[in-house]
């Protein structure tokens, strides 16, 4: 099973077209393994991206260097998926 330990989902808020362009160039770098849940299109739409643990720090530094604001939407994706699985198992064992 694919393991998402340490993967974070960042919600990035670009504030100008230049930052959108920077994020688009990031999205083109397929070798980083970034998974864009919402893509960089305009300053009115936040960009949500899943970032593997191995590139998490370099990406955060890259965002800071480019003065791009972000918040952590999901701290550890595997924790959330484990919780999802636990809830599914618990509920399926309960009487309807």
């Amino acid at each position: 099973r694919e393991n998402f330990v340490g993967h974070q989902v960042l919600r990035i808020q670009p504030t100008n077209e230049e930052q959108i362009s920077v994020l688009r160039s990031l999205a083109e770098k397929h070798d980083l393994g970034l998974d864009f849940w919402t893509e960089p299109v305009s300053v009115t739409k936040p960009v949500d991206v899943r970032i593997p643990f191995k590139v998490l720090q370099p990406i955060k530094i890259f965002l800071l260097e480019n003065d791009i604001q972000y918040s952590i939407m999901i701290q550890d994706l595997q924790d959330l998926l484990d919780e999802e699985e636990r809830v599914m198992k618990t509920r399926s064992a309960q009487p309807r």
Partner: protein, 306 residues
């Protein structure tokens, strides 16, 4: 039976397929199952047909073509039960079903959905291998024959938005295309995704407004207003290219170009905290509010024959 089905929980593909069979068995005069094709890995592409007579115009609804969007397939299951529950009780739905058929494909990408339950919860695409690449799958919402290969889709098989080698290369897409063409009388087509809270109409591959834009825009506004009336969930709406981004090869651009005027695509709830791992306790609220918007679109379709 389907009364005992846990609509507030996520379910595997087998459980959803069992639900489909139960629903048909419980409502033989209203519901039937059509298999419109099979997926790359050989799974049936099941469509529920809700019908009260022969030779009716139809409304199509599909949920969860991107496999990881679990709240979408879960909402589709709830819609199916809602239709059989409300028929004969809700005058608006009853009137629609007395004149039109509703087709509902709950799991549009079964290989991908099964894969999210067994191997990779965050999988999005189909599961067909790409010759010469280790990366598997095609984005089935870039694989339709509407501006196929244009901007807003990737030609790189490892991209999440890989369009595929040619239009309709994915059996999950081609099967719907064949069904739509053979039916020939679909009047509305609603393709439901998650997440980001949007209701979108054509086009995505071009900035040229579709000829029915003003009507589709007004109906979208009505639908999202109805949706928001339940829990206050705020949606944005508009054409795909103006509201979200340029995307070529998309589902509803193709259906609209086939003459299905009321072609819409939804993006369901986004709490801004969980992404595709939306907690199961949000399934029913999501389905309930979305149903109000679906009813707005279906009623408008019923009231405005063309």
């Amino acid at each position: 039976n389907t009364d005992g089905y846990d609509y507030a929980n996520y379910h595997t593909l087998n459980e959803i397929n069992s639900f489909i069979d139960m629903l048909v068995a419980e409502n033989p005069n209203l519901v039937s199952k059509i298999v419109i094709g099979q997926s790359y890995e050989g799974r049936p592409l099941n469509v529920l047909k809700f019908s009260t007579g022969a030779n009716r115009p139809g409304i199509w609804i599909d949920t969860g073509i991107h496999s990881r969007e679990w709240v979408t397939q879960a909402s589709g299951t709830w819609f199916a039960k809602k239709i059989v529950t409300d028929y004969g009780r809700d005058p608006a739905l009853t009137a629609i079903l007395n004149k039109m058929d509703i087709f509902l494909e709950i799991v549009t990408n079964p290989d991908g959905y099964a894969y999210t339950h067994t191997s990779n919860r965050m999988w999005r695409k189909t599961r067909k291998p790409n010759s010469g690449y280790s990366c598997v799958g095609v984005d089935p919402n870039r694989n339709w024959d509407a501006g196929f290969g244009g901007a807003g889709a990737s030609g790189y098989p490892c991209s999440e938005t890989y369009r595929g080698p040619y239009a309709n290369s994915e059996s999950e897409v081609k099967s719907i295309v064949d069904f739509v063409k053979s039916h020939g009388n679909l009047k509305a087509f609603v393709s439901i995704h998650s997440y980001s809270q949007m209701l979108l109409y054509p086009y995505g591959y071009t900035s040229t407004p579709c000829k029915d834009q003003s009507e589709l825009h007004a109906l979208a506004k009505k639908a999202i207003t109805d949706l928001a009336s339940l829990y206050g969930t705020q949606y944005t709406y508009g054409s795909i290219i103006n509201t979200i981004y340029q995307a070529s090869g998309g589902t509803i651009d193709w259906t609209y170009n086939q003459g299905i005027k009321y072609s819409y695509t939804f993006e369901l709830r986004d709490t801004g905290r969980y992404g595709f791992a939306l907690p199961a306790n949000q399934i029913i609220p999501t389905a309930q509010e979305t149903w109000l918007a679906l009813m707005a679109i279906m009623q408008h379709t019923y009231n405005n024959p063309y």
